[in-house]
C-alpha cells in the first residue's frame, strides 16, 4: 500500500461510478461495564458531491456514532467495528493505516460539533487555531497562516476579522464560535463535511444564520454535507435526502420531499404527526407512545415494535430488512405499504 492519502484515495471521481462517500453495513459496538452496547447495527448510506444528507434520529439512535466512525475518532476500545465499510471515493477508510487516515481526517473529511466552546482550545487565539490547519497540513509560515485565518474568518462572515483574529474563544458569542469551528473545518477545502447538531445549542435567529452560511459554503465548493440532527424543521429546510435512524439502524431513507409527503416508516410518520400544527390547536397532540429503546436491552425483531401502531406478530420475531419502495427510497418496515397508504394499523 502507498503511504499518503492522496495516493491511496484518488482526488477525483474514484473507481467507476463510486459515490463520494458510502457507508456500507456498518456495525459499531461498545464494551461497557453493563454489557455490550450495539450502538450501530448495519447502517448504509451514500453521499454525492454537492449533496446534503440529513441523518435524523434521537439520542441513542447511533447517528453520531456513525459519524465518528466515518471520521475515525471513536475511542477503540471501548468501541469496536466488527463489520462494515466506509468507502471514500471507492477506498475503504476502515482498512487504511492510521497514518493515511490522518491525512484524510480534517483535510478531506471534516467535522463540526454541537458544542463549539468545548471543541475550541481556550488557551489559544482563534487565529492561531484556524491557522494551525495551514501550518500543520500545508507547512505554511506563521504569518501566512494568520493571513489565511483572517480570510477564512471573513468567509464565514465574522465581522472585523482582522481585529478579532487574536481574540480567544471565550470572547466570542455562541454563534460566532460556531462560525470559527466552521472556518476551521472548511480551511483545507474538504470534500465531505459532517455537521453533528451544529445549531442545537444556538438560538433560532442564529441557527438561521449558520444554516444559511453552511448552504452557501456548500454551493461554493460543491462539498458533500452530512447533517446530523433531531430537528425535523432544519432537515426540511436544507436536506436533499434523509436517513432516519432508530435504535442503531436506518429505518427509512428517501428524498426529502417524499418523506414529508408520504412517510414510509411508522416511526418517521409518528415523528411528523407529533409536530404541533396550527389546525390541531386545543387538541391532543399525536404522541408516539412508550420510550426510546434501551441499547443494552433491545426489543426483539423490529426495535420499534413496542411503540408501533402497525405491529403484527412477525414484527416481534423478524428483523425487517430495508425494503426497496422505489429505486430512491427504502423502509425497514414489514408493513411499509400500509404505512405509505396511510391506513392505520
Amino acid at each position: 500500500m502507498k503511504n499518503t492519502a492522496t495516493e491511496v484515495v484518488p482526488a477525483e471521481g474514484g473507481l467507476g461510478n463510486d459515490p463520494l462517500l458510502a457507508v456500507d453495513n456498518l456495525h459499531v459496538e461498545f464494551a461497557t461495564r453493563a454489557g455490550l452496547v450495539k450502538a450501530v447495527n448495519g447502517v448504509s448510506y451514500t453521499l454525492n458531491a454537492g449533496e446534503t444528507l440529513a441523518v435524523l434520529g434521537e439520542s441513542g439512535s447511533g447517528k453520531s456514532v456513525t459519524a465518528q466512525a466515518i471520521m475515525g475518532i471513536l475511542d477503540m476500545p471501548p468501541a469496536r467495528i466488527p463489520l462494515g465499510e466506509v468507502r471514500f471515493r471507492g477506498t475503504d477508510l476502515l482498512k487504511l493505516k492510521e497514518e493515511a487516515r490522518t491525512q484524510i481526517r480534517g483535510q478531506r473529511i471534516a467535522m463540526i460539533f454541537q458544542d463549539a466552546l468545548s471543541a475550541l482550545n481556550p488557551v489559544f487565539t482563534v487565529g492561531w487555531q484556524i491557522g494551525e490547519m495551514f501550518r500543520v497540513h500545508r507547512g505554511m509560515s506563521r504569518r501566512d497562516a494568520e493571513t489565511k485565518a483572517v480570510e477564512l474568518m471573513d468567509r464565514v462572515r465574522i465581522p472585523a476579522a482582522k481585529q478579532r483574529v487574536n481574540d480567544y474563544p471565550h470572547q466570542f458569542s455562541g454563534g460566532m464560535r460556531q462560525r470559527i469551528m466552521i472556518a476551521m473545518s472548511i480551511a483545507l477545502d474538504p470534500e465531505v463535511l459532517i455537521a453533528d447538531e451544529p445549531t442545537t445549542a444556538l438560538d433560532v435567529t442564529v441557527q438561521a444564520q449558520i444554516m444559511e452560511l453552511l448552504a452557501e459554503l456548500q454551493r461554493e465548493s460543491n462539498m458533500g454535507l452530512i447533517l446530523i440532527t433531531h430537528d425535523l424543521g432544519v432537515v426540511a429546510d436544507v436536506a436533499d435526502k434523509i436517513a432516519v435512524m432508530y435504535g442503531g439502524r436506518i429505518v427509512e431513507n428517501a428524498p426529502v420531499h417524499d418523506i414529508y409527503r408520504t412517510p414510509g416508516h411508522p416511526y418517521t410518520k409518528g415523528l411528523l404527526e407529533s409536530i404541533p400544527r396550527v389546525d390541531q390547536k386545543g387538541q391532543e397532540l399525536y404522541a408516539i407512545k412508550g420510550l426510546p429503546p434501551n441499547l443494552l436491552d433491545m426489543p426483539s425483531g423490529c426495535s420499534f415494535h413496542p411503540r408501533c401502531p402497525y405491529r403484527q406478530d412477525n414484527c416481534v420475531t423478524d428483523v425487517p430488512e430495508l425494503y426497496e419502495i422505489n429505486p430512491t427510497r427504502n423502509s425497514a418496515c414489514h408493513y411499509w405499504r400500509e404505512v405509505l397508504d396511510g391506513t392505520d394499523g
Partner: protein, 324 residues
C-alpha cells in the same frame, strides 16, 4: 459516546400514555416490575457503590487487613498471652534476643517481648487514626458545609483561616501544639493532628457543596419553600459528602503514620504506653545488633497505613468513577 444512553437498569416495563392509561411498551408477556429486580442490582447510589465495592479485589484485600487490625486493636489479649504492660515480663538478661520460639519477634533493649508489644501497639495507632479522622471530618465537614452554603463573609473568614493553617509546616505545627500541652498521649496527639488537618476536609467539603448547591434540585427545593436546614442536610450534604469520605479514608493512614512520627520524635505517645513509633525510636540505636525490635513495628505500621490508603482508593473508584 455522546449518543449512548447512560448504562443503567432497564426501563420499567410499563409506561402510561398521556391519557393515563397503562400501555405495555416492552415485550407484552412478562408482568410489570420484574426487570429491575432481575439483575439483583440495588437502586440507591450508595448501594450501587457498595455493590461495586464488593466486586473489587483491592477493596476486599484492604478491608480484610483492616478487619484483622481492628480485632487486634480491640482484643490484643487474644493474640498474645504476654501482657507487655506488666514490667515483670521484661527481663534485662534476655535483652536483644533474636526471634525464636519463646519470643516470636525477639526481645528489645530491655528484654521485653517485641511480639506482644507490637500487637498491643496497634490499639493506639488505630485509635489516633480513627478519632482524628472523625474529628476532622465533623469539624472540617460542618464548617465547609456552612462556608460553601452561606458564601459571602462567612466563607471569606473561614477560607482565610484555613489558609493560615495551610501555611504551617505540619510536623513543626504538631511539635508546637504538643509542646503547649506538655504531655503526649493518644488524645493530645489526636488534637494536634486534627487542628492541623481539618482545613483540608474543609476545602474539599466547601468545593463539593458549592457544586451541589447550584444544582437544579436545590432550586426546586427552595421553590417549594424549604428552609436552609433542610436544603443543607437533605439536599446538599448527601450529594457532597462522597469526596470527604474518600479523603478521610486515605487520610486515616496518614494520621497513623503521623502519630508514629511524633512518637518517634518523642513528643507523641510516651513510655510506658506503647506505640509503634516509640518502639522504632527505642530500637534504632542498636539496630545493627538486633533488627527485630525495629523491623516488626515498622512492618505493622507500613501495612496498616497501606491498607487504609488502598481502601480509600477503592472507595474513591466506587463513589466517583470519573476520578479513575
Amino acid at each position: 459516546m455522546s449518543d449512548i444512553r447512560p448504562a443503567g437498569p432497564p426501563h420499567p416495563e410499563t409506561e402510561h400514555d398521556a391519557t393515563g392509561q397503562a400501555v405495555a411498551v416492552g415485550t407484552p408477556e412478562p408482568p410489570p416490575d420484574v426487570k429491575p429486580a432481575k439483575q439483583g442490582k440495588p437502586a440507591s447510589l450508595w448501594s450501587d457503590a457498595w455493590y461495586d465495592l464488593r466486586r473489587r479485589p483491592l477493596f476486599i484485600f484492604s478491608s480484610v487487613l483492616i478487619l484483622i487490625l481492628l480485632v487486634i486493636a480491640v482484643f490484643p489479649q487474644w493474640f498474645s498471652s504476654v501482657d507487655p504492660f506488666n514490667a515483670a515480663t521484661c527481663q534485662l538478661a534476655q535483652a536483644r534476643n533474636p526471634p525464636g520460639s519463646a519470643h516470636w519477634f525477639g526481645t528489645d533493649n530491655l528484654g521485653c517481648d517485641v511480639y506482644s508489644r507490637t500487637i498491643y501497639g496497634a490499639r493506639n495507632s488505630i485509635v489516633v487514626g480513627m478519632s482524628t479522622t472523625i474529628v476532622t471530618a465533623i469539624v472540617g465537614g460542618l464548617l465547609g458545609l456552612i462556608a460553601g452554603y452561606r458564601s459571602g463573609a462567612t466563607d471569606t473568614v473561614l477560607s482565610r483561616t484555613t489558609e493560615v493553617f495551610f501555611a504551617i509546616p505540619p510536623i513543626l505545627g504538631a511539635l508546637l501544639i504538643l509542646a503547649v500541652f506538655r504531655t503526649g498521649n493518644v488524645w493530645t496527639v489526636m488534637l494536634a493532628l486534627a487542628v492541623l488537618a481539618w482545613p483540608m476536609t474543609f476545602r474539599i467539603m466547601r468545593a463539593a457543596v458549592i457544586m451541589a448547591k447550584n444544582q437544579d434540585y436545590v432550586m426546586a427545593a427552595r421553590a417549594l419553600g424549604a428552609g436552609p436546614g433542610r436544603i443543607m442536610f437533605r439536599h446538599i450534604l448527601p450529594n457532597a459528602v462522597a469526596p470527604v469520605i474518600v479523603v478521610a479514608t486515605i487520610n486515616l493512614g496518614g494520621f497513623i503514620a503521623a502519630e508514629a512520627a511524633l512518637s518517634f520524635l518523642g513528643v507523641g505517645i510516651q513510655s510506658p504506653d506503647i506505640s509503634w513509633g516509640l518502639m522504632i525510636a527505642d530500637a534504632r540505636d542498636r539496630f545493627l545488633e538486633a533488627y527485630s525490635p525495629l523491623l516488626f513495628p515498622a512492618l505493622f505500621l507500613s501495612v496498616t497505613v497501606l491498607a487504609f490508603i488502598m481502601l480509600g482508593d477503592a472507595v474513591r473508584d466506587a463513589l466517583d468513577p470519573k476520578l479513575r
